[in-house]
């Protein structure tokens, strides 16, 4: 009985699948000749196997390959597009990169240029104002000498600038 249990286990796997070693197989075959219970199990397992072996293999539909080929072509196109987009993005990054050092240098340059321009403009305006002031005070003085004073705006400071 103990032997039958072991043999039945072997019948359900190694023996049925041809994975038992030759000695084991020979031993089981001899046992099956004598044991109706084990022999019946073996027949049932073989019948079960016939069901699987009788299963017809399915023909692979032809459209599957064309679908796969199309999907691969699409994927390659996307990869190429991605590659081009990647190159363009890197170029853009290189040109318009927001790096702190570059931003600082650019800002400083702009500030310096604006400061120089502002200084030049202020200096030229100041010199023009001085000239105008001198001219007007001089004018008033001339008028004073002639005894014809329209406005007497001259001060000691203005005289100092003259």
């Amino acid at each position: 009985m103990m032997q039958c249990k072991k043999i039945q286990e072997l019948l359900k796997a190694d023996y049925l699948d041809g994975e038992a070693d030759p000695k084991e197989e020979e031993f089981i075959k001899e046992h099956l000749k004598q044991c109706s219970e084990c022999s019946r199990l073996e027949k049932e397992l073989q019948a079960q196997r016939m069901l699987f072996q009788g299963a017809k293999r399915k023909q692979v539909p032809e459209r599957i390959w064309s679908n796969i080929r199309d999907a691969i072509v699409m994927e390659r196109l996307k990869q190429e597009e991605g590659l081009i987009r990647g190159i363009l993005e890197r170029l853009r990054d290189l040109i318009f990169a927001r790096r702190p050092a570059v931003v600082l240098a650019t800002s400083l340059s702009v500030i310096i240029i604006l400061a120089v321009m502002a200084t030049t403009t202020i200096q030229s305006r100041v010199s023009l104002s001085k000239q105008n002031a001198a001219e007007s005070i001089a004018g008033y003085s001339l008028n004073s000498e002639n005894g014809y004073v329209l406005y007497d705006l001259g001060t000691s400071i203005e005289e100092y600038f003259l």
Partner: protein, 181 residues
């Protein structure tokens, strides 16, 4: 499934479509049939087959040849089909009628008497549906695709003894369902 020549694999991994088509021709029958048996549905089997070959295409460059190419294909197929089967089962929960399944289980006449192909198919599908996906996968790889214990073990990344015990349990379960044990 036959082994595929190394140069074909190399050319395919370099993007050669003719070489990739050779791989497809050599492996698609296995992929489609295993997918069909696991998912029990031709639309799902088609989807799984396409997914499997897209995965092969995308990962061929990184395939390290640590395992045989066919084992790699087996593994991708089984995993993709099981994922699809679980998804479909979730979507169609409650659809399986177990009374009908038991009624359509095979009997001992099957091996000796003429049974139509469609009956055979229906019974086979009904039988497979009664098993857990681990048992079912082992049985499909062994009985329908004829893989050795070693190949099944490598495909499913399980020890050979686990393959052995799953096959035993699957066969025992089928006998019990059929009322013979």
């Amino acid at each position: 499934m036959n082994d595929i020549a190394l140069d074909v694999l190399e050319r395919a991994s370099a993007g050669n479509m003719d070489a990739f088509e050779q791989i497809y021709k050599a492996t698609s029958s296995f992929v489609y049939n295993v997918a069909f048996r696991i998912t029990r549905n031709s639309a799902d089997a088609e989807e799984v087959t396409q997914d499997v070959f897209m995965k092969i295409y995308r990962n061929l460059k990184s395939f390290q040849f640590r395992s045989a190419f066919k084992t790699w294909v087996y593994r991708i197929t089984v995993n993709t089909a099981i994922i699809r089967y679980r998804k479909s089962k979730k979507e169609e929960k409650g659809r399986v009628d177990y009374d009908n399944i038991i009624e359509s289980l095979p009997d001992s006449r099957l091996a000796t008497e003429g049974v139509s192909q469609s009956d055979n198919e229906a019974r086979l599908n009904a039988l497979l549906d009664m098993l857990s996906h681990e048992h079912k996968t082992c049985l499909i790889l062994r009985e329908i695709e004829g893989l050795s214990y070693q190949e099944i073990a490598e495909t499913l990344k399980i020890p050979v003894n686990t393959v052995r015990s799953r096959l035993k349990r699957a066969r025992q379960a089928l006998l019990v369902k059929a009322g013979r044990r």
